[in-house]
Amino acid sequence: MNVLDHVYTVTFVLLGMAVLLTLYRLVRGPSVMDRILCLNATSVLLISFVAVEVAVRGDSAYIGLVITFALLGFVGSLTAARFAERRAHDRG
């Protein structure tokens, strides 16, 4: 069990650093498409966090969240991308 605790710590630290890097790209841009990409990456990382949390607790109460995040993140990013396309067409 002790080994698994270390495993969880390493996983959380790596995922946390990934989130920080994603936020950096989210703030810096430069393009709207970059930000949409970061939005999607963040949602995937969130799902990973919840999944690891599920493993830590051995408890299934949060699994609904995993699926909800997965679908909401996809719909949100896709809508944003299509909207960006529409804007580009209107401009040019």
Binding site: T22, L45, A55, V66
Partner: protein
């Protein structure tokens, strides 16, 4: 430590590593298309690994089926998103020529095929 624990101990950090390196690529790659590659797909591999690792710690097959469902959704949605972003980035001209060896789509567009402006496309605002 059971076999399931060993699988978890391998897949969870490996998945997190994939997610982390993919994000490093998201920050470091100079082109938008390169960033699309780095952000969407190592993330998928990472998520699948992490879901496998988490499923091994669950007492019940029924709950593991839910995680498998999440992995399936991810594998269905990621290509759609990557393709949409790629197409939009291309049509907005947000690709840098200097990082490309060749571009046969541009050549085709010059020849007059114009695949992105043919009639009958539902999503093309006229």
């Amino acid at each position: 430590m059971t076999a399931a624990d060993v699988v978890t101990a391998v897949t969870l950090p490996l998945g997190a590593l994939f997610a982390f390196v993919g994000t490093v690529g998201l920050v470091r790659f100079p082109t938008l298309l390169g960033r699309v590659h780095a952000a969407t797909k190592p993330d998928t591999v990472a998520l699948i690994l992490i879901l496998v690792g988490a499923a091994c710690q669950l007492p019940d097959v029924r709950v593991a089926a839910l995680l498998a469902l999440a992995a399936l959704f991810q594998m269905l949605t990621v290509p759609v998103l990557a393709q949409t972003i790629g197409r939009v980035a291309y049509s907005r001209g947000e690709i840098s020529e200097e990082h490309m060896v060749g571009d046969e789509l541009a050549e085709a567009l010059e020849r007059g095929d114009r695949p992105e402006h043919r009639p009958g496309r539902l999503d093309e605002p006229t």
